[in-house]
Subunit: 153 residues, 2 copies
Amino acid sequence: MDLFVSKYFNKIDKKGRISLPSSFRNALPKTNRNEIILYKSIKSSSIEGCGVGRLKEIAKRINNLDFFSEDYDDFSTSIFSEIITTNVDKEGRFLIPEELKLYAGIKTEAAFFGQGHFFQIWEPKQGLKNTEDSRRRLLKEKKSLRMMLTQQK
Amino acid sequence: MDLFVSKYFNKIDKKGRISLPSSFRNALPKTNRNEIILYKSIKSSSIEGCGVGRLKEIAKRINNLDFFSEDYDDFSTSIFSEIITTNVDKEGRFLIPEELKLYAGIKTEAAFFGQGHFFQIWEPKQGLKNTEDSRRRLLKEKKSLRMMLTQQK
DNA sequence: TGGGATTATTTGGGCGTCAATGGGTATATG
DNA sequence: CATATACCCATTGACGCCCAAATAATCCCA
């Protein structure tokens, strides 16, 4: 499965290492599975991550915004300049930079949430609350979520 | 037959394994019959499942949403982080995650209900009650059911 | 068409492998 | 030289794989 799916709760050890869930490792391109990128989410107090290949896709997204708009600069700056690359060790662990941990309020444990082509890292409680909130918002529009899940091609 | 049809009642063993009904296994695409996805039903306290192929469809659809919108995050979170992928072993068994078992009230036995392009997993009694209820609702509209079944194109 | 034989499916359990975690030590980097 | 990080090895528990028994479904022939 080449998508980031499900949620996982892992611990940060004394050295600051945390395991990237095995299924997430497998979702990374086979060519480069020991390097990921991390950045602050612009929409929530979470960290977003993905394989380095995804960078091009992000660039494309931003490029689709109006070049002369304020948004363009803002997204461009807050995403690209903040991106951090991290190495995943032989056991599948990596270090979350202090700044990002602070941003997300993460201390000894972190929750990984699959988001398809990328994933989010949350302080566990906040992450759970966020999924509840999302779901609540969507259930108000039950029809649209059902369509998303059950529609046939 | 590549559709999930009829109903089956299987047991969960000490290790938490349960057999995916043989006919359901055969309804999965021949290319990937050892991995399925599970998620909480939006409409009922049951688990819904299907092959991973559908997940890729869903991913595509979400990907077409405006990346910077709130909807994007809501869908992405509610779907990708709530969906669970499970492996089906050589004997056709798989594990139902604890969280989903709780959601559906399943303990030692589960009922599988074919729903065409997907299937539902119920606590047996609740599942039976649900089919009765929905049949009863349908019969109240006998006329429309007859039309549905007998109308020719 | 009944009923035993054959095959398929479900269920049970042993055991090896892998993922998550912990910690020692070498190596790099400033 | 001190701190940070990568590599190596070990432990634990969960899960996948294998083999086998029990149950259900199907077949086939008298």
